[in-house]
């Protein structure tokens, strides 16, 4: 566990106490930048330097998609996500589907079967009632598909110009029947699997925002991964760790996981599938598909000899039908991820730096 740092405690009324001494800025920034929410380096630093020291505890220290918690003889997973995607509706989904899938996926990544969700709505004054109804109906449908119940909620309304239509927070509780799937279980020699093609969500939202149309169109990959993950675990595959790819894309998820696990990964770029339309869109927009957001893709770390069985199980589901092996855990280390590029050159993969696609989820 990390030591609680020595920031000035605020007792009673912060206002009444007057200003506290100005603390050291995070990454040299004295105010919040868009990139602090982008899922890349600045997000990572904000969490590591501000939130973790304040709330130090063992569950947080696992740095996973959710917290794994013991309650009597039961083991729970608990996670939360706020959703601020713009626009609210996009090809392949909407903020409601995203809010449910994002949270159930985080629970599934812990190896937990999602049971219950909460929903907190922050609505901007003037939002059409019909928009809210469509979003709620979409949440209902997504919750049904993932087998979770929405059991508690909250609604707040903010004045015009103090929101952007609708923000939704979902928190979720899942149940684990086994040891949690955590980065610390990753071992040298593990195969690294990817569940499908990259960058659909980011490109679908970005194309809509920029008014771009691509032949054939691009739909977000937004989906619940609960069914394939439960099937993988039920099939007895000894999965060591799962991680869903969201903001910051595959690259950021790999770098974060390698760092937490204290391992070195090697990925073969020619093995990472990207749809041709998506690849073309990335080229036009100047984006690297490795860093573009996904909302229905995962990576799995598991013993190499079980990779075939895992692929066979995942490929039985539409949402993970494109599963493939993309690389391997090389050895213990300081968390370097190496990418063998299409032309056979190795390069070191870094976390997303700055903000690539703001408000993508």
């Amino acid at each position: 566990m990390k030591k609680i740092n020595s920031m000035n405690p605020v007792k009673g009324s912060a206002l009444a106490e007057g200003a506290v001494a100005c603390p050291a800025p995070v990454s040299g920034h004295t105010s919040i930048q868009m990139a602090h929410g982008g899922g890349g380096r600045l997000s990572h630093e904000l969490i590591e330097k501000l939130f973790f020291p304040a709330f130090a505890n063992a569950a947080l220290e696992e740095r996973h998609d959710g917290a794994v918690l013991d309650l009597g003889d039961e083991r729970l997973a608990f996670t939360t996500d706020s959703h601020v995607v713009s626009p609210l509706f996009f090809p392949g989904g909407d903020i409601g589907k995203l809010a449910v899938c994002g949270t159930v996926n985080d629970l599934a990544m812990c190896g937990a079967r999602p049971l219950w969700l909460s929903a907190g709505f922050i609505i901007e004054e003037g939002l059409p009632m019909e928009t809210l109804k469509r979003v709620v109906e979409s949440m209902r449908s997504a919750a049904g598909e993932a087998g979770v119940q929405l059991v508690t909620g909250d609604t707040k309304v903010v004045d015009r110009g103090k929101g952007d239509g609708l923000y939704i927070n979902t928190a979720g509780i899942g149940r684990l029947n086994r040891t949690g799937l955590v980065p610390s279980r990753i071992r040298p020699g593990d195969a690294i699997l990817l569940s499908g093609d990259l960058a659909r969500h980011g490109i679908a939202v970005m194309a809509l925002r920029e008014g771009l149309e691509f032949e054939g169109g691009v739909e977000s990959d937004c989906a619940s991964l609960v069914r394939p993950v439960m099937a993988l675990l039920d099939a007895g595959v000894d999965v060591h760790c799962l991680r869903d790819l969201t903001r910051g894309g595959l690259a950021t998820a790999l770098v974060e996981t390698a760092g937490t696990a204290g391992m070195q990964f090697r990925i073969d770029e020619t093995l990472t599938p990207v749809n041709e339309t998506v690849r073309g869109a990335c080229e036009i927009l100047g984006l690297d598909p490795l860093y573009v957001a996904n909302e229905g893709r995962l990576i799995a770390f598991l013993p190499e000899e079980q990779a075939e069985a895992a692929l066979e199980t995942l490929r039985r589901f539409d949402e993970t039908g494109g599963a493939c092996v993309i690389g391997r855990v090389m050895r213990e280390g300081s968390g370097t991820v190496t990418l063998k590029s299409a032309i056979g050159v190795d390069r070191v993969v870094d976390m997303l730096s700055g903000e690539q696609l703001p408000r993508i989820c």
Copy 2:
């Protein structure tokens, strides 16, 4: 359980499907008004007509501050609240303290000991880093006092002009060792206790917003009620139901609880304590203290013969030091709350109608 209504299902891409048929508006409103988030009649209708039909399940149907859920041999409470208070800092607290206390109080109202919190931050671009640090430190302090751990979180950043500094969602999990405290356990003859004087939070925030200064000042009652509630339960008092008073004040909490319980309540206005400065402020601002927001007050329903023991326990704590009996459950009925006024006249108390104090929590 309520029947799921027949709103148009949104399958796959809502966008690709085009507009769904325009559903019936809620309360004749075709768009969201500030009062839909005010905790009064419009909030109530939005929840009853839009959210409940979509997500029908037994936990929601209890209409309590949190959901009570069975997991193996364990019984959990689960709740969520988003916080959008403006300004972020006020006498007696800030958005961080409010976010922690609001959620642990909701768990305590279910009779649960709060264990774990999640926190979802929606930050407006440009928020001073120092402000965020003060809020986080305040959350750390409040969590420590309430004995809960913040175990998982999420950070999103929205563009300038699409937020208002900072919104915080907290969800919480608590553990119950007993039957949940729910409105359906309220019985005719139960005493109704109030834990302290009314309307401090609403007046403290409103005075700050309006630039009003009152002699002696008014501090928010914002506080964790976990310690006194746990003491009450540990003392063996057979509490039937607890409810904390937030948006909509005492009046709205009573009317909602009476409706859910199917009971008639009678309250004596002369027994409801209001601090003199707060009363004066209410008069100047044209507010009825019965409808003004509180953030550290509760009402308790319990057998009349146990009222003395309950008061004695509650009065041992600063945060519930002003506990008193304010009325009684008269009989089964359709949920009417009658108030005996200071001049001895009975009147029927209604839920807050419209928006009294926007963004008070």
